[in-house]
Protein backbone atom coordinates (compact mmCIF):
# COMPACT_ATOMS: atom_id res chain seq x y z
CA UNK A 1 0.00 0.00 0.00
CA UNK A 2 3.02 2.25 -0.05
CA UNK A 3 1.86 4.38 -2.95
CA UNK A 4 -1.44 5.25 -1.22
CA UNK A 5 -1.61 8.72 0.30
CA UNK A 6 -4.08 10.24 2.81
CA UNK A 7 -7.73 9.45 2.13
CA UNK A 8 -9.65 6.24 1.52
CA UNK A 9 -9.46 4.57 -1.85
CA UNK A 10 -10.58 1.52 -3.80
CA UNK A 11 -7.97 -1.21 -3.82
CA UNK A 12 -8.29 -4.36 -5.96
CA UNK A 13 -7.49 -7.82 -4.66
CA UNK A 14 -8.01 -11.39 -5.89
CA UNK A 15 -10.50 -13.74 -4.32
CA UNK A 16 -10.63 -17.46 -4.97
CA UNK A 17 -13.90 -19.18 -4.21
CA UNK A 18 -14.35 -22.92 -3.72
CA UNK A 19 -17.82 -24.44 -3.58
CA UNK A 20 -16.84 -27.00 -0.91
CA UNK A 21 -13.80 -28.13 1.04
CA UNK A 22 -12.57 -30.35 -1.76
CA UNK A 23 -12.93 -27.50 -4.23
CA UNK A 24 -15.30 -29.30 -6.57
CA UNK A 25 -16.22 -25.99 -8.20
CA UNK A 26 -13.86 -23.05 -8.08
CA UNK A 27 -13.34 -19.64 -9.58
CA UNK A 28 -11.47 -16.44 -8.96
CA UNK A 29 -12.27 -12.80 -9.46
CA UNK A 30 -10.85 -9.34 -8.75
CA UNK A 31 -12.80 -7.61 -5.98
CA UNK A 32 -12.40 -4.06 -4.64
CA UNK A 33 -11.66 -3.29 -1.00
CA UNK A 34 -11.27 0.15 0.59
CA UNK A 35 -7.84 0.97 1.94
CA UNK A 36 -6.43 4.22 3.18
CA UNK A 37 -5.26 6.64 5.81
CA UNK A 38 -7.89 8.73 7.61
CA UNK A 39 -7.25 11.29 10.34
CA UNK A 40 -7.38 10.41 14.01
CA UNK A 41 -6.29 12.04 17.24
CA UNK A 42 -6.30 11.43 20.97
CA UNK A 43 -6.07 14.00 23.75
CA UNK A 44 -6.98 14.54 27.44
CA UNK A 45 -10.74 14.29 28.04
CA UNK A 46 -12.86 17.27 29.02
CA UNK A 47 -14.21 17.39 32.57
CA UNK A 48 -17.73 16.48 31.39
CA UNK A 49 -16.37 13.27 29.82
CA UNK A 50 -14.41 12.42 32.97
CA UNK A 51 -17.50 12.91 35.07
CA UNK A 52 -19.76 10.86 32.79
CA UNK A 53 -17.31 7.94 32.76
CA UNK A 54 -16.63 8.00 36.53
CA UNK A 55 -13.12 9.29 35.73
CA UNK A 56 -12.25 6.15 33.71
CA UNK A 57 -12.03 7.76 30.28
CA UNK A 58 -9.19 10.21 30.76
CA UNK A 59 -8.37 10.03 27.03
CA UNK A 60 -10.70 11.04 24.19
CA UNK A 61 -10.08 9.62 20.73
CA UNK A 62 -11.67 11.37 17.76
CA UNK A 63 -11.20 9.29 14.67
CA UNK A 64 -12.24 8.37 11.20
CA UNK A 65 -11.48 5.10 9.44
CA UNK A 66 -11.51 3.93 5.82
CA UNK A 67 -14.91 2.36 5.16
CA UNK A 68 -16.92 0.93 2.28
CA UNK A 69 -19.68 3.45 1.54
CA UNK A 70 -21.27 1.55 -1.34
CA UNK A 71 -21.26 -2.16 -2.14
CA UNK A 72 -22.20 -3.88 -5.34
CA UNK A 73 -23.01 -7.51 -6.14
CA UNK A 74 -21.05 -9.18 -8.89
CA UNK A 75 -21.48 -12.61 -10.44
CA UNK A 76 -18.56 -15.01 -10.34
CA UNK A 77 -18.50 -18.09 -12.51
CA UNK A 78 -17.23 -21.24 -10.81
CA UNK A 79 -15.76 -23.98 -12.91
CA UNK A 80 -16.60 -27.46 -11.77
CA UNK A 81 -15.18 -30.83 -12.73
CA UNK A 82 -15.99 -31.85 -16.26
CA UNK A 83 -17.81 -29.10 -18.15
CA UNK A 84 -20.26 -28.00 -15.48
CA UNK A 85 -20.48 -24.35 -14.37
CA UNK A 86 -21.98 -22.67 -11.36
CA UNK A 87 -22.52 -19.01 -10.69
CA UNK A 88 -22.49 -17.25 -7.35
CA UNK A 89 -22.88 -13.62 -6.31
CA UNK A 90 -20.33 -11.86 -4.15
CA UNK A 91 -19.86 -8.28 -2.97
CA UNK A 92 -17.33 -5.76 -4.14
CA UNK A 93 -16.77 -2.20 -2.91
CA UNK A 94 -18.08 0.49 -5.24
CA UNK A 95 -16.98 3.57 -3.29
CA UNK A 96 -15.00 4.39 -0.16
CA UNK A 97 -14.88 7.17 2.39
CA UNK A 98 -13.30 8.12 5.70
CA UNK A 99 -16.16 7.59 8.15
CA UNK A 100 -17.01 6.03 11.51
CA UNK A 101 -14.60 3.44 12.89
CA UNK A 102 -15.89 0.04 13.96
CA UNK A 103 -14.98 -0.28 17.59
CA UNK A 104 -13.26 -3.34 18.92
CA UNK A 105 -14.72 -3.48 22.37
CA UNK A 106 -12.98 -5.16 25.27
Amino acid sequence: YETIGPGCHLHPFDVTIKSDRRGTCRGSHVVQACVGYCESSAFPSKYSVLLASSFKHNITSVSQCCTISKMQKIKVRLHCRAVRHEEIEIFTAKSCQCDMCRLSRY
Binding site: V35, S41, F43, P44, S61, V62, T67
Partner: protein, 108 residues
Protein backbone atom coordinates in the same frame (compact mmCIF):
# COMPACT_ATOMS: atom_id res chain seq x y z
CA UNK B 1 5.86 16.12 15.66
CA UNK B 2 7.56 19.29 14.45
CA UNK B 3 4.99 21.03 12.27
CA UNK B 4 7.70 23.05 10.57
CA UNK B 5 9.50 20.02 9.17
CA UNK B 6 6.53 17.84 8.23
CA UNK B 7 3.66 18.61 5.92
CA UNK B 8 0.57 17.76 7.99
CA UNK B 9 -1.61 17.55 4.90
CA UNK B 10 0.28 14.54 3.59
CA UNK B 11 1.58 13.04 6.84
CA UNK B 12 1.00 9.32 7.29
CA UNK B 13 1.61 7.58 10.60
CA UNK B 14 0.90 8.35 14.25
CA UNK B 15 2.97 10.82 16.22
CA UNK B 16 3.16 12.84 19.41
CA UNK B 17 1.81 16.33 18.79
CA UNK B 18 1.36 19.40 20.97
CA UNK B 19 -2.17 19.98 22.18
CA UNK B 20 -3.57 22.92 24.14
CA UNK B 21 -6.68 22.56 26.26
CA UNK B 22 -8.53 24.22 29.11
CA UNK B 23 -8.17 22.26 32.35
CA UNK B 24 -11.09 23.02 34.61
CA UNK B 25 -13.24 21.55 37.32
CA UNK B 26 -16.06 22.94 39.44
CA UNK B 27 -14.93 25.27 42.20
CA UNK B 28 -11.67 26.33 40.50
CA UNK B 29 -10.64 28.77 37.84
CA UNK B 30 -9.74 27.12 34.53
CA UNK B 31 -6.15 26.96 33.33
CA UNK B 32 -4.86 26.75 29.77
CA UNK B 33 -2.36 23.89 29.43
CA UNK B 34 -0.18 22.66 26.60
CA UNK B 35 0.75 18.98 26.61
CA UNK B 36 1.79 16.14 24.33
CA UNK B 37 -1.11 14.26 22.71
CA UNK B 38 -1.45 12.05 19.61
CA UNK B 39 -2.33 12.82 16.03
CA UNK B 40 -1.95 11.11 12.68
CA UNK B 41 -3.30 8.87 9.98
CA UNK B 42 -3.30 5.11 10.50
CA UNK B 43 -3.80 2.50 7.83
CA UNK B 44 -7.39 1.28 7.95
CA UNK B 45 -9.34 -0.90 5.56
CA UNK B 46 -12.60 -2.67 4.89
CA UNK B 47 -12.96 -5.59 2.53
CA UNK B 48 -15.98 -7.59 1.41
CA UNK B 49 -16.09 -11.21 2.62
CA UNK B 50 -18.36 -14.10 1.65
CA UNK B 51 -20.08 -14.61 5.02
CA UNK B 52 -22.18 -12.25 7.19
CA UNK B 53 -21.72 -9.42 8.06
CA UNK B 54 -20.05 -9.40 4.60
CA UNK B 55 -17.46 -6.76 5.60
CA UNK B 56 -14.18 -7.40 7.38
CA UNK B 57 -12.73 -4.28 8.98
CA UNK B 58 -9.28 -3.35 10.21
CA UNK B 59 -9.80 -0.11 12.10
CA UNK B 60 -6.87 1.20 14.07
CA UNK B 61 -6.64 4.76 15.32
CA UNK B 62 -3.81 7.01 16.44
CA UNK B 63 -3.88 6.88 20.22
CA UNK B 64 -1.73 6.88 23.36
CA UNK B 65 0.66 3.92 23.63
CA UNK B 66 2.63 5.08 26.65
CA UNK B 67 1.37 7.74 29.03
CA UNK B 68 2.61 9.74 31.94
CA UNK B 69 0.11 11.26 34.36
CA UNK B 70 0.79 14.91 35.09
CA UNK B 71 -0.76 16.71 38.05
CA UNK B 72 -1.08 20.49 38.22
CA UNK B 73 -2.70 22.83 40.74
CA UNK B 74 -5.58 24.86 39.39
CA UNK B 75 -5.75 28.49 40.50
CA UNK B 76 -8.36 30.22 42.65
CA UNK B 77 -10.11 27.14 44.01
CA UNK B 78 -12.81 27.42 46.66
CA UNK B 79 -11.67 26.55 50.17
CA UNK B 80 -13.20 23.05 50.25
CA UNK B 81 -12.03 22.10 46.73
CA UNK B 82 -8.87 20.07 46.04
CA UNK B 83 -6.95 22.15 43.48
CA UNK B 84 -5.09 19.22 41.89
CA UNK B 85 -5.94 18.29 38.32
CA UNK B 86 -4.44 15.18 36.70
CA UNK B 87 -4.25 14.58 32.96
CA UNK B 88 -2.44 12.11 30.69
CA UNK B 89 0.60 13.19 28.68
CA UNK B 90 1.64 11.11 25.68
CA UNK B 91 5.11 9.59 25.81
CA UNK B 92 4.51 7.41 22.75
CA UNK B 93 1.63 7.25 20.29
CA UNK B 94 0.74 4.34 18.10
CA UNK B 95 -1.95 3.02 15.76
CA UNK B 96 -4.15 0.73 17.86
CA UNK B 97 -7.71 -0.15 18.76
CA UNK B 98 -9.72 2.44 20.63
CA UNK B 99 -10.05 0.73 23.99
CA UNK B 100 -13.40 1.67 25.50
CA UNK B 101 -12.15 0.86 29.00
CA UNK B 102 -9.84 3.85 29.20
CA UNK B 103 -10.88 5.94 26.24
CA UNK B 104 -13.91 7.91 25.10
CA UNK B 105 -14.07 6.72 21.46
CA UNK B 106 -15.70 9.29 19.21
CA UNK B 107 -16.03 9.81 15.52
CA UNK B 108 -15.59 13.10 13.69
Amino acid sequence: LKASSINLRTFIGCAVREFTFLARKPGCKGMRLTTDACWGRCETWEKPVLDPPYIDAHHRVCTYNETKLVTVKLPNCAAAVDPSYTYPMAIRCDCGVCSTGTTECETI
